[in-house]
């Protein structure tokens, strides 16, 4: 093969994959359960597992471990995989293979996470619906669409509702696009955690507790989340009380949070439309808990917020975080809030230019640096710095994320 001219090699490989590709049709009805499980197990690279319209009821989670497979329903409103009677396995569908496309079906009422990929390269979630039909409840699964430890992640046109942690959650992954999706009535709409190079764009996040979270957490095998662009999203009316089970970090998010950046590096928030987020439209914060991890950076490094539009906000600050903010800032809470936490050595010297917080917004945008001294969220001053002009500047924007499965190789 390697002696062939490159063009010939490409033609040949295309011909080969065409010859191998097969459609495995799974229609609803008698034994549909077992037929779908078998189809996902026996699929060969290149195959498409086509799930017909109708409702499919499962008592166990599904899984796919074959590379180069597409799993395609007849549409998120047509093909419904229901896990209401699930008695085994945490998630609805788990993918552990590479170059997999999941599209055009719905997953309902999983006991744990909805659709998960672990360790996948080139994983696409397209036009999926992942819903907990009983509305926001602590008993719902944690994540709706959940790629973790994955590379080249495309989430496009999905709808997620009811997740007790994050509707769309990307963890410990790299090269990520989340776009054209809608997340509502989750604790967090979209969360990018301990991940590198993510574009979150043209999504609508509404009626969640918090809209979009960009976090980095300690004691995980992959840390150092960085290079995230959150742009051209509608982040509006996030007004669902936090219903996360206690113990989970997302439990700290107050109702009415727009975008929250915590302990991440090089995060750019721009071109978004914020409106009616009752606690704050944008919060930039340090990790608030004690931790034991020498490799962890608990403060956000290099955040640039610019060119967003801000409607009414900060009118109903919620919970412990809301109280900590308003104790310093007063009500209504400014559009953009930074807790101001700085590492002690830097407090006595300076913060490098690339690690600073920059804000460049239209006239009239309000801001507060709460000047908290440590991650314990203790203010050292009762007078916040509200002079937004003092934070003017910019950071070089990360290059757009390109994915091989998105014509971007």
């Amino acid at each position: 093969m390697h002696r062939l001219l490159p063009i010939a090699a490409v033609t040949l490989s295309l011909a080969t994959s065409t010859a191998l590709a097969a459609d495995i049709a799974v229609e609803a009805g008698e034994g549909a359960n077992e037929r779908l499980i078998e189809a996902l197990i026996s699929a060969q690279p290149g195959d498409t597992v086509k799930i017909g319209p109708g409702r499919f009821e499962f008592t166990e989670g599904l899984s796919l471990d074959v590379d180069d497979v597409k799993v395609q329903g007849a549409g998120a409103g047509q093909t419904v995989l229901s896990f209401k009677g699930q008695t085994g396995t945490g998630e609805g569908l788990l993918v552990t293979s590479d170059r997999v496309v999941l599209e055009d079906f719905a997953v309902e009422d999983t006991k744990g996470d909805g659709v998960k990929s672990k360790g996948s390269d080139q994983i696409t979630f397209r036009n999926l619906s992942v819903v907990w039909t009983g509305g926001p409840k602590a008993e719902n699964g944690a994540y709706g669409v959940y790629p973790v430890s994955s590379k080249n992640v495309l989430i496009d046109g999905v709808f997620v509702s009811g997740a007790s942690d994050a509707g769309i959650y990307v963890g410990q992954s790299e090269d990520i696009i989340v776009r054209n999706s809608r997340a509502e009535y989750n604790v967090a709409g979209i969360e990018i955690e301990n991940s590198k190079r993510a574009d979150v764009t043209k999504n609508t996040v509404t009626h969640n507790t918090g809209g979009i979270l960009v976090f980095d957490l300690p004691n995980l095998p992959v840390q150092g989340g960085q290079d995230v662009r959150v742009f051209d999203n509608d982040v509006v009316e996030n007004d669902t009380p936090n219903f996360a089970p206690k113990g989970n970090i997302v439990g700290i998010v107050p109702k009415g949070m727009g975008v929250m950046v915590m302990a991440n590096r090089n995060v750019h928030v721009f071109g978004n439309r914020f409106d009616k987020n009752g606690t704050a439209h944008v919060l930039i914060a340090a990790y608030p808990n004690e931790y034991d991890d020498d490799n962890y950076m608990f403060v956000p490094r290099g955040v640039f917020v610019h060119g967003n539009t801000y409607g009414e906000g900060g009118f109903a600050p919620d919970g412990e975080v809301g109280k900590i903010i308003t104790d310093v800032s007063g009500t209504p809470v400014p559009d953009i809030v930074w807790d101001g936490v700085t590492r002690i050595p830097e407090y006595f010297s300076w913060v490098n230019a690339e690690d600073q917080i920059y804000i460049d917004e239209a006239e009239g945008t309000t801001f507060a640096n709460l000047k908290m001294i440590s991650q314990m969220l203790l203010p050292w001053s009762t007078s916040p710095d509200t002079d937004i002009s003092g934070y003017k500047g910019s950071l070089p924007e990360p290059a757009p994320v390109k994915l091989p499965q998105d014509n971007g190789a």
Binding site: T16, A19, L20, A22, E34, I37, E38, L40, I41, S42, Q44, T59, E60, S63, L64, D65, Q86, T87, G88, T89, G90, L94, T96, T110, K111, G112, D113, K118, G119, A138, E139, N140, G141, A142, Y143, Y146, V148, S149, S164, D165, Y169, G171, Q172, L217, N219, L220, P221, V222, A244, P245, K246, G247, N248, I249, N289, D292, D293
Partner: protein, 353 residues
């Protein structure tokens, strides 16, 4: 499709050649190495008497010091290594078995859990076969007559009704795993791998037909294991129910077998940051003072995986006690709680400082 058939034919031919090398006894090397698994368990030839779980020649029974809990099932384990070959000893991981090896495990329920040897009903036999391309995992479900077991790629559900350890009736639906679920636990760096046959868990005496003998010594003498040190120089875990052993070692042995197949740096739950292997030394990775990451309602409103001295604020206990999908750990392989294991872990966390 034509290409695929050709490929399959090629593999079969290769298998036939291997088979020609010949292994002792009735075990079928062809069946072990075939690209497509046999439909019937008997085609492997592992048993002289399947119903009584009497192994064929070249099939060696073994047991683990601390086994996985699977809804109180009794387990019969066997290993077959091709004649003239041997597994390579490893002090920490499952041994490196040669191509043609089969690991066989039958799950069974006695009518009364208090009398494990009487009225035993075989449910399923799981087979891990070592092929050129790696390990393959298959599950065979026994018929009611107990004369044959049939391949079930998509798994199965079997209703179990027995008398429990407390003397009360115990009924539940036992789950035979599908092929992917096998890999849900049997995965190391994304590849299918054996879990049980590790030095530390085999380093105990076994009652062979010829008498009691340490398993590592027996395997070495039988020529199926090479490079093994004397048992005294090999690592060992306690029998987790042995109350004469230290609580810490018993609990760690239990976690090692029941959790660490996923909860290790190379395992399916690597992203959790919770690592429960026997050799783990990082206290936070072991869960001490570690906050949950993706637990969701699995946290049970508790703040830490392990809160020393406070088992009732420890997520680990909550998830081991639960039988609810999405909460219980392990995620698959059980529908029941093991009260003795819960009691041990409770004591362990309570005594922890």
């Amino acid at each position: 499709m034509i290409m695929r058939r050709l490929l399959a034919a090629g593999l079969l031919a290769a298998a036939a050649m291997f088979g020609g090398g010949g292994s002792a006894g009735a075990v079928s090397a062809e069946a072990i190495l075939a690209a497509k698994p046999p439909k019937l368990l008997s085609e492997f030839g592992f048993f002289a008497d399947g119903a009584r779980q009497v192994p064929a020649e070249g099939v060696v029974p073994y047991h683990l010091a601390t086994p996985l809990f699977t809804d109180f099932a009794e387990k019969f384990r066997f290993v077959h290594v091709p004649a003239g070959q041997s597994a390579t000893y490893n002090p920490d991981e499952a041994f490196d078995f040669p191509v043609g090896t089969a690991l066989i495990k039958t799950f069974a329920f006695p009518a009364d859990l208090r009398a494990p040897d009487k009225n035993v009903r075989l449910i399923e036999t799981r087979v891990l076969v070592r092929q050129e391309a790696g390990w393959q995992a298959w599950a065979y479900v026994w018929n009611a007559e107990q004369t044959e077991a049939e391949l079930k790629i998509a798994g199965a559900k079997v209703d179990i009704a027995v008398t429990g350890r407390d003397g009360a009736p115990l009924a539940f639906t036992y789950a035979v795993p599908n092929k992917n679920q096998c890999k849900g636990c049997h995965a190391l760096n994304g590849e299918v791998a054996p879990l049980g046959p590790k030095a530390r868990n085999l380093n105990v005496s076994h009652d062979y037909a010829s008498g009691a003998e340490n398993q590592l010594a027996h395997w070495a003498a039988a020529g199926i294991l090479s490079g093994s040190p004397a048992p005294a120089d090999a690592p060992s875990v306690p029998v987790w129910g042995d109350t004469s052993a230290p609580t810490d070692a018993r609990a760690r042995a239990w976690l090692d077998t029941n959790c660490a197949h996923c909860h290790r740096r190379e395992g399916p739950a690597s992203n959790s940051g919770l690592y429960l292997t026997w050799g783990e030394k990082d206290r936070v990775a072991l869960g001490v003072g570690k906050r949950p990451v993706a637990a969701g309602r699995g946290s049970g409103d508790r703040a830490f995986d392990i809160d020393p001295g406070n088992p009732d604020n420890s997520i680990l206990l909550y998830r081991v006690e639960s039988t609810e999908a999405g909460v219980m750990m392990p995620e698959i392989g059980r529908t029941q709680t093991d009260p003795e294991a819960v009691a041990l872990l409770h004591k362990w966390v309570e005594e922890m400082r």
